[in-house]
C-alpha cells in the first residue's frame, strides 16, 4: 500500500477511535458544547492551534512564499498577530464569563435576545465564509492525491465532520484537534530536519533565489503559452512583487487580519473549555508558541521549495513529476513536492495525512461554533425555552447535521471561488463585528445594546460591500482586506451609538466584577 493511503487511513482510524471513546462524554450540554470545561493548557492550547492552523496555513503559506516571495511572507506576518492580541485582551475575561457560545456573551452582557440573534447571524456568516474555502481546499487535496471527483471530496469531508463532531462533541473534537495539530507539526519538523540535513541554509537560498533572473529551463512543457517561466529574483525578494500595491493596502491587511482573529467564533469559544482563567491564558500562550513556530517553518519551506525548483530545473535533476507539480500544482503542491524531494513517498504520505488533519481540525471547530449557535442560541433561547437537558443535546447534534448539509452545499457552490478571497472575507467580517464588540464589551462599561447591534450590522455590511463590490471603489481603495476602513468604522459606530443611547444594563458592574474578578478568589 502506498504510504499516502496508509497514513491517511491511520488518521481516519484514529479519528474514529477517539470519537467513539469520547462518545459517552457528550450527553450533557456542558459536555457537548464545552467538553465539561476540563481541558488543561496543553490540550486546549494544541486544539486552539489546530483551529487556527488550517489547510490553507499548512499548505498555502509555503506555497505563497514560493510563488510571491516577500508578499507571501508579509501575508503570514499579518496572520501571526491575531492570537497574541486575543491573549492580551480577551482570553482571561472570556473564560471567567464561562458560558457556551459567542452569542451568549452579547446576550448576557445586555440581556438582549435581539443581540443574541444578530450575533448568531454573524457567527453563521463568519463560519460560512471560513468553512467554504476549507471544504474547497480539502476537496482539491482529495482530487490531487486520490483522484476523486470534487463533489465526492466535498461529500466525504462533510460526512467525516458530521460523524466526528456529532458523535464526539467538544471532548472528541478537542482531542482529535490536538492530535491533528501534532501530526502537522511533526510533518513540518521532519521536513525542516531533512532540509537542514541537505545543507539548505536559509541565507544562502535567499541569495541564490534573489540573484536568479531569466527563464527557468524545462518549464515550457507545462505552461499554457509553451514558453519557459521567467523568474525575477529581485521582484520576488521585496514587497510589491505580487499582491501589495501600496503601503495603505499593507496597513489594511495588518489591521484586518490581526483584529480578525479576536472575532473568530471557533477560536473564542475554545476559552470556555478550560477549567479556569489561568488555564485559558496558558492555553493561548501555548497556541501562540505552536502557531509562530509553525509559521516560521512554513515560510522557510516555501524558500526551500523555490530553491529546489530553480536549481533543480537549471541542473535538470528535477523529475518531470516534481517539475510539473511546481509549475502547475498551485500553491497547495509546494509542501508535498518538497516532501517528495526531501523524504520520498513516505514523507509525502505524512504530509498528505497532515493536510487532511488540517482540514478536519479547522472544520470541526467551525462545526462546533455553528452547532452552538443553532442548537444552543436559537433552539434553547427562541424555539423551546423549557427544553430538557437531553433535548438540548439532541438539538446540538441535529444542528451538526444541518450545518453539515449547508456546508456541503456551500462547498459545491464555491468550486470556482478564490480561497484567499473567502478567507479574507471571514477575517474581515470577524475583525469588523465581534472584535470591537468583545474588546469594548470586556473593557468599557459604557457600551450599550444598541451600540453593539449597530456596530455588528455596520461592520458586517461594510465588510461585505468592500469585498463583494470592490470594483465600485476608487482604485486606491481596492484592497484585498479592507480592515483599515471597516474596523475603525465598526469601533466608531459602537462608541457613537452607545454615547448617544447612554442606556447601559443596570447590572453592568456585576458583569464586570464577574469577568475581571481576582483569580485568587475565582
Amino acid at each position: 500500500m502506498e504510504p499516502k493511503y496508509l497514513f491517511t487511513l491511520i488518521l481516519l482510524g484514529t479519528i474514529i477511535a477517539v470519537t467513539f471513546a469520547t462518545k459517552k462524554y457528550s450527553t450533557s450540554t456542558v459536555d457537548f458544547y464545552v467538553g465539561g470545561r476540563s481541558f488543561g493548557w496543553l490540550m486546549n492550547g494544541s486544539a486552539i492551534a489546530g483551529d487556527y492552523l488550517s489547510a490553507a496555513t499548512f499548505l498555502g503559506l509555503a506555497g505563497l512564499t514560493f510563488s510571491l516571495g516577500y508578499d507571501g511572507i508579509f501575508y503570514t506576518f499579518c496572520f501571526s498577530v491575531g492570537l497574541t492580541v486575543l491573549a492580551l485582551f480577551v482570553a482571561g475575561p472570556l473564560r471567567k464569563f464561562g458560558k457556551f457560545t459567542v452569542p451568549d456573551f452579547l446576550a448576557e452582557r445586555f440581556h438582549s435576545p435581539q443581540a443574541r440573534l444578530i450575533a448568531v447571524i454573524v457567527v453563521l456568516s463568519i463560519s460560512g465564509f471560513y468553512a467554504a474555502p476549507q471544504i474547497l481546499g480539502g476537496a482539491q487535496i482529495l482530487q490531487l492525491f486520490f483522484g476523486t471527483s470534487y463533489e465526492a471530496g466535498v461529500i466525504l469531508i462533510v460526512t467525516v465532520m458530521i460523524f466526528y463532531v456529532g458523535v464526539g462533541g467538544m471532548k472528541g473534537t478537542t482531542i482529535n484537534q490536538a492530535l491533528e495539530v501534532w501530526i502537522r507539526f511533526g510533518a513540518f519538523l521532519i521536513l525542516l530536519g531533512g532540509a537542514i540535513y541537505m545543507g539548505l541554509h536559509y541565507g544562502k537560498l535567499l541569495d541564490l533565489i534573489a540573484s536568479w533572473t531569466g527563464p527557468v529551463p524545462g518549464t515550457a512543457a507545462y505552461t499554457k503559452d509553451g514558453k519557459d517561466l521567467v523568474a525575477n529574483g529581485v521582484k520576488w525578494s521585496y514587497i510589491g512583487g505580487g499582491v501589495f500595491k501600496n503601503p495603505i493596502e499593507s496597513l489594511s491587511m495588518v489591521i484586518g487580519l490581526s483584529f480578525g482573529t479576536i472575532g473568530l467564533p471557533h477560536i473564542l469559544l475554545r476559552f470556555y473549555t478550560n477549567p479556569s482563567a489561568k488555564e485559558a491564558r496558558y492555553s493561548a500562550l501555548f497556541a501562540i508558541a505552536i502557531a509562530s513556530t509553525f509559521f516560521a517553518i512554513a515560510l522557510y519551506l516555501g524558500v526551500v521549495g523555490r530553491y529546489l525548483f530553480l536549481e533543480g530545473a537549471k541542473a535538470g535533476t528535477l523529475s518531470p513529476e516534481n517539475l510539473k507539480a511546481f509549475v502547475i500544482g498551485g500553491t497547495n503542491m509546494v509542501v508535498p513536492t518538497v516532501a517528495n524531494i526531501v523524504g520520498g513517498k513516505w514523507l509525502l504520505g505524512i504530509v498528505v495525512a497532515g493536510a487532511f488533519a488540517a482540514v478536519f481540525s479547522n472544520l470541526s471547530g467551525l462545526f462546533i461554533a455553528c452547532s452552538g449557535a443553532l442548537g444552543h442560541d436559537v433552539f434553547t433561547h427562541f424555539i423551546n425555552k423549557n427544553a430538557t437537558e437531553q433535548q438540548k443535546v439532541v438539538a446540538g447534534k441535529v444542528s451538526v447535521v444541518i450545518i453539515g448539509v449547508l456546508y456541503g452545499i456551500l462547498g459545491l457552490l464555491v468550486q470556482k471561488a478564490s480561497i484567499g478571497h473567502l478567507v479574507g472575507l471571514a477575517f474581515n467580517v470577524a475583525a469588523s463585528t465581534f472584535a470591537p464588540i468583545f474588546l469594548m464589551g470586556v473593557w468599557w462599561r459604557g457600551m450599550t445594546e444598541k451600540g453593539a447591534i449597530w456596530g455588528m450590522v455596520i461592520g458586517l455590511a461594510s465588510s461585505c460591500y468592500m469585498i463583494f463590490f470592490v470594483k465600485t471603489l476608487p482604485i486606491w481603495m481596492q484592497w484585498k482586506i479592507p480592515g483599515l476602513v471597516t474596523v475603525p468604522l465598526a469601533f466608531l459606530t459602537v462608541y457613537i451609538v452607545s454615547k448617544i443611547d447612554g442606556k447601559v444594563p443596570a447590572d453592568v458592574n456585576a458583569f464586570m466584577k464577574q469577568i475581571h474578578s481576582s483569580d485568587v478568589k475565582a
Binding site: 492570537l83 497574541t84 541569495d207 514587497i239 516560521a296 443596570a506
Partner: protein, 105 residues
C-alpha cells in the same frame, strides 16, 4: 442571567466599580495596552519602512537574508510568543501579589 428584566440605567448615573474590580481592570489594561503598543509599533514600523525606507530594509544581514525578511519571517514570529509570554508573566506576578495580600489580610 440572560433575558432577566434587569432594566437599564443612564451611563452617567452608573455607580463606580468596586475597588477590587477597578484595580484589577486598571492594572491589566495598562499592561495589555503597553504590550500591544510595543507589538503594533514593531508591526507598523516594518510595514511602513518597507515602503518608505527600502534601502534600510533591503540591507543584507547574511547570505541573502535582508533586514525586512528577517524581521517579517523570524523576529515577528518570535515576538508574537514573547509578548504573550510577558503578559502571562505579569499575570503570574499579579496572582502572587493577590495571594500575598489575601494571606496578610
Amino acid at each position: 442571567m440572560a433575558n432577566e428584566k434587569v432594566g437599564t440605567i443612564d451611563y452617567k448615573d452608573l455607580p463606580p466599580l468596586d475597588e477590587e474590580t477597578s484595580a484589577n481592570m486598571s492594572e491589566e489594561v495598562k499592561v495589555s495596552v503597553l504590550l500591544a503598543v510595543v507589538y503594533f509599533a514593531f508591526l507598523l514600523t516594518v510595514t511602513i519602512m518597507n515602503w518608505t525606507s527600502p534601502e534600510i530594509m533591503k540591507t543584507v544581514l547574511w547570505g541573502g537574508m535582508t533586514v525586512t525578511w528577517f524581521a517579517t519571517s523570524i523576529v515577528a514570529m518570535f515576538m508574537a510568543t514573547f509578548i504573550a509570554w510577558l503578559h502571562v508573566l505579569y499575570y503570574q506576578s499579579r496572582v502572587s501579589k493577590n495571594l500575598k495580600n489575601e494571606k496578610g489580610a
